[in-house]
Every structure is written in structure tokens, then in C-alpha cells.
């Protein structure tokens, strides 16, 4: 319980950091923190494989790409987060709080019904995942490969200097 509390506090603070830091680099680093803590929370949910994937894919690949682009574009310094009292800022915070408040009060308020985990502890094991991934989920798996191919071809098409 306490571990979870600590982890979630870190995650929320890191998430706030992403939004509030004016420097994109700091935001990115906060996001890395957040992803790390999430990975540990995933371990807590007994989904070890996804926890590891979280670290490898998100922190290892995606966030590195982010940092790489930020550095490449020289966006290191604080530049775009102006502390102006704008309509959009009010709107944004208002929207966020409203969303959280409505969903929390209407939906998550009484979930005692699901107090106990229903899934067995090993439901997130590589064997269990692998078995369904390559049987029932083989078609989406193939589609995901096309998706990544689109990512590759698309980023080449957009970013290569000369085609």
C-alpha cells in the first residue's frame, strides 16, 4: 500500500512536471520518470512482461527519440510556456478538473465491488501472453507490423532531406 502510494505520488508529480516545466527537456525527463514509475506499478499488478516492455519501449525507445528531436531542434531552453493568463489556460485547467471530477464522482466513487483481484497472479506472464498473442491475436499482431511499417516509411518520407 505504501509502496503504491509513493509510486503514484511520484507519477503524479512527474506528470505535473511534464505540463508545467517550460523547458521541453525537463518535461521529457519528467515523462521518463513517470513511465518508470508506471512500469513498477505494472509489476505490482503482476503484469511483469508489460512492465518490462514499458521500460524498454517507452523509456528506452520513445523517450530517447523525443529527447533526440528536442536536442536536434535546439529546443533545450525554456521558450514556449508563457505565464499569461489566457482564456485557453483557464479552459484547459477547467476542462481537466471537470473531467476528473465528473468521472471520479460518477464512476470510480464506489468500486468496493471489485476489491479483490480476480485474475490469477500469473496472468501477465510471458507464456500466457505469448499463447494468446500468436493464436487469437495473430491478426492484430500482423496489422501492428503494418502500422510500424507505416511509421518507418512515413517518417522517412517526412524527414528525409531528399527523396
Amino acid at each position: 500500500m505504501t509502496v503504491f502510494m509513493v509510486l503514484s505520488t511520484i507519477a503524479i508529480l512527474a506528470a505535473l512536471g511534464v505540463v508545467l516545466f517550460s523547458s521541453p527537456v525537463r518535461s521529457a525527463l519528467c515523462l521518463v520518470f513517470n513511465f518508470f514509475t508506471l512500469a513498477f506499478i505494472y509489476f505490482g499488478l503482476k503484469t511483469e512482461l508489460l512492465g518490462i516492455t514499458q521500460i524498454v519501449v517507452y523509456t528506452g525507445a520513445i523517450m530517447v527519440l523525443f529527447l533526440f528531436v528536442i536536442m536536434l531542434l535546439n529546443l533545450g531552453g525554456p521558450q514556449t510556456w508563457k505565464e499569461r493568463f489566457e482564456f485557453r489556460t483557464v479552459l484547459g485547467f477547467g476542462f481537466g478538473f471537470a473531467l476528473a471530477a465528473v468521472i471520479a464522482s460518477q464512476v470510480f466513487a464506489n468500486f468496493q465491488y471489485f476489491d479483490k483481484p480476480q485474475a490469477p497472479d500469473s496472468f501477465g506472464s510471458p507464456q500466457a501472453l505469448g499463447r494468446v498473442l500468436f493464436t487469437h491475436y495473430v491478426w492484430p499482431f500482423e496489422i501492428a507490423s503494418i502500422l510500424l511499417l507505416i511509421g518507418i516509411v512515413g517518417s522517412i518520407m517526412l524527414a528525409k532531406r531528399k527523396l
Binding site: Y58, F95, F114, A119, L148
Partner: protein
């Protein structure tokens, strides 16, 4: 640690999701906006895993296996989607930066009625 309620996970996910949504609306740097979207996706992932673990069904084991597996599978594919999205999204940001040397979203006003 196993003593946590489903509601705790969901609340954490909700808070992260909301923070991400706020960030998308208030920030002006597309890279940061994009990071906020990633934050939202991760919040959703957390929600999925929490639901997979605390799955509500009372059906037979085969159905239940299907049930708590599909949540995890969703997370797997969200990660794949996020990877492809990042490649494309950062490509677009690079391309736009190359054209105009700045990427502030408020300066994008060529498209008007």
C-alpha cells in the same frame, strides 16, 4: 501491495489522464503537447491493466482468460501504436521546423476561412 483497490489504480489513471488533457490544451509547443498525449495513453494503459487484473466477469475460466488477456493485449497494441505515432509525429514536427524554424502552435494560422 496486493491490498490495493481497483479504485486506487483507476484514480491514478484518471489523474494522469486529466493532467495530460490539460497539458494538451494549455501548452503551445507541439512536442510537449505530444508528450502530454503520450501521458494520456499511458494513463489508459494503466486503466486497462487495472481492469484486466480486477476483471469483473464471473464466467467460466476460458472466458475469464479471454477477458483478462484482452486487456493486456490492448496495452501491447497501444504501445505499438504509440511507437508508430511517435515516428510519424516527430517526423512532422521536424519537417515543419525545417520550413519555418519555429514550431509554436499559435503561429500556425495559414489555414483560415
Amino acid at each position: 501491495m496486493t491490498g490495493n483497490n481497483l479504485a486506487d489504480y483507476l484514480t491514478l489513471g484518471l489523474i494522469m489522464f486529466s493532467i495530460g488533457a490539460v497539458g494538451v490544451i494549455v501548452r503551445r509547443n507541439p512536442i510537449v503537447i505530444f508528450m502530454c498525449i503520450e501521458l494520456m495513453l499511458n494513463a489508459v494503459n494503466l486503466t486497462f491493466l487495472a481492469f484486466a487484473r480486477f476483471t469483473p466477469t464471473t464466467a467460466a475460466l476460458a472466458d475469464r482468460a479471454e477477458s483478462f488477456m484482452s486487456g493486456q493485449m490492448m496495452v501491447v497494441f497501444v504501445m505499438a501504436v504509440a511507437a508508430a505515432e511517435v515516428a510519424v509525429g516527430l517526423g512532422i514536427i521536424m519537417a515543419i521546423y525545417r520550413l519555418r524554424n519555429e514550431i509554436d502552435i499559435d503561429e500556425m494560422n495559414l489555414l483560415k476561412g
